[in-house]
Amino acid sequence: MEKLLEVNNMHVSFDTYGGEVKAVRGVSFDLNKGETLAIVGESGSGKSVTTKALMQLIPKPPGRIKEGEILFEGRDLTKMSEKQMQKIRGKEMAMIFQDPMTSLNPTMKVGNQIMEGLIKHQKMDRAQARKRVVELLDLVGIPDPESRLKQYPHQFSGGMRQRVVVAIALACNPKLLIADEPTTALDVTIQAQILELMKDIQKKTDSATIFITHDLGVVANVADRVAVMYAGKIVEIGTVDDIFYNPKHPYTWGLLGSMPSLDSADEELYAIPGSPPDLLDPPKGDAFAPRNEYAMQIDLEQEPPMFKVSETHYAATWLLHENAPNMEPPASIKKRMEGMAKSSSSNEKGDRI
């Protein structure tokens, strides 16, 4: 497996009148070619800021990448000038935004919006670009592309608009596709179509995808690996089976437990109490500790390091420390683990790294 992207200890801060908001506080992960990584977390956990930083789309000021490196095929994006970035953005890495209602230009014909990147990056002339646009619209499943490309965004439905956004992102065959909640604004049936489309295209083009969402159902559908973010940090990362069938971090337990399953009986949902911390002044120790019923004394004093559960699975919780007591996860999580004990490693403790 070839590494496409490597993020090392990235910190992103915003300077506001109230002080420095530490939106991302030391995120590290890597991404292989052709792989899909899903980033999940609540709003404000820093998942969107992380991906915007990858694209160098953080407005500076007030934002800045304080520390860390982003290696895209070995080149450090944090050290690049805006001019260099413009050559990469849209060509080698592209983004699909959440809201198809606002991410298209309402005064421009759809065809021209898709063409923009082709003309700029691929140096195509208009006739070539037009041909490619018809291909792209066909690829994303828009019927009658020849006449559709002359229409304006308001003449498309939400699902169709999102297909146009996908087409724009795919126009230059990017190596990395970042999708920031691409289906949140859509209905379930349309969502299913868009997800199938994205998976299909990924298979054809072998691009890598970073998929941001808070819908765990969608994660289970699309992801190869999952990173769970909380208060600007990755608290658990692993393969999709690791995270869904052998979760180690209490926050992951909470997220999984707060979704009703279709066959669940009338038991009360497991709700994480309280709300996420204020990143103007992140709490000492583990940021999740005040909402965590499994928190121990050390969680309030010292931030937990990443513990290695298996080759693919890491989690930042003191519960994995060799001296920690064995904690029983909530009942619904245990049910998940039982279904899975066969394939994933089931060791209770992890190795500190």
Partner: protein, 312 residues
């Protein structure tokens, strides 16, 4: 759950004129009952008319045709102020967007107490304050919050304020229009648990409108599925999920992604094709299994009965 009807909706229609000759039939002939103490879930894709249904029931819109009978009395039609007040007290609404549904220039105390003021439920200022404090605690906030403004709260907290406002006049029926769609997953669970607890304590009846089918299944006793202004299927929530009969319901259920990778790898999605229906006659609402109603023609009805009546 009693079988006493609290709300009866009979042939409800809501048509909007969009031009001189064009009419949007947002809601087109709905028939269903809501029983006392139950939660009736209404699901469907955006634009299917589920929110319009909720808003028409509570008379935010005047119905084009049909009746909404609440406790034996028609909600629509000519009413004097007194009668209207009586209904307004019994029926309350919780809105989708907790950012847009609270007046940013009013203090939380006044937002919650507005209904009490209108209905004259508090004798004096002291009683008003005490009631607001009690309501805040009921919904899991504390009384210090009464003097703050909406912008000082998070989305989940604001939705709690919206719930407190709805509860302030002691209603028996609450219409919740996508009350959790704008909230984070972990906060959604908090609000749903709160709604369930309140229903238990106060014997409330809910009409729960949402597009998140797994949450609707969790909270509802019965569910109605809407498609293009019409109800296509009504059944007990378990029955609906285990034996969906109408092809649209089947396609909707097959499209929900579940937080279970193994299931997701094997999931098969059906697409609904509205042209596959029998068009020899106007479809009607018919009872295929006990308590399980489907919109179908006579031919389809016979077919559904054969297919589904026996499966348990």
């Amino acid at each position: 759950m009693s079988q006493e009807k609290l709300v009866e909706i009979k042939n409800l229609k809501q048509h909007f004129k969009t031009g001189r000759h064009s009419v949007v039939k947002a809601v087109d002939g709905l028939n269903f009952d809501i029983f006392k103490g139950e939660t009736f879930g209404l699901v469907g894709e955006s634009g299917c008319g589920k929110s319009t249904t909720g808003r028409t029931i509570i008379r935010l819109y005047d119905a084009t045709d049909g009746e909404v009978i609440f406790n034996g009395e028609n909600v629509h039609g000519k009413k004097n102020r007194e009668d209207l007040k009586k209904f307004n007290r019994e029926m309350q609404m919780i809105f989708q967007d907790p950012y847009a549904s609270l007046n940013p220039r009013m203090k939380v105390e006044d937002i919650i107490a507005e209904g009490m003021d209108i209905h004259g439920l508090a004798k004096d200022d002291k009683e008003r304050k005490a009631k607001v404090h009690e309501l805040l605690e009921t919904v899991g906030l504390n009384k210090e919050h009464a003097n703050r403004y909406p912008h000082e709260f998070s989305g989940g907290q604001r939705q709690r304020i919206g719930i407190a406002r709805a509860l302030a006049v002691d209603p028996s029926f609450i219409i919740a229009d996508e009350p959790i769609s704008a909230l984070d997953v972990s906060i959604q669970a908090q609000v749903v648990n709160l709604l369930k607890k309140l229903q238990h304590e106060k014997g409330l009846t809910y009409l729960f409108i949402a597009h998140d089918l797994s949450m609707v299944k969790y909270i509802s006793d019965r569910i109605g599925v809407m498609y293009f202004g019409k109800l296509v299927e009504v059944a007990d929530s378990d029955d609906l999920y285990n034996h969906p009969i109408h092809p649209y319901t089947q396609s909707l259920l097959s499209a929900i992604p579940l937080p279970d990778p193994d299931y997701e790898r094997s999931r098969e999605r059906f697409t609904y094709n509205p042209n596959n229906h029998d068009t020899s006659e106007e479809p009607e609402f018919r009872e295929v299994r006990p308590g399980h109603w489907v919109l179908c023609t006579t031919k389809e009805f016979d077919f559904y009965k054969k297919e589904h009546a026996t499966t348990k």
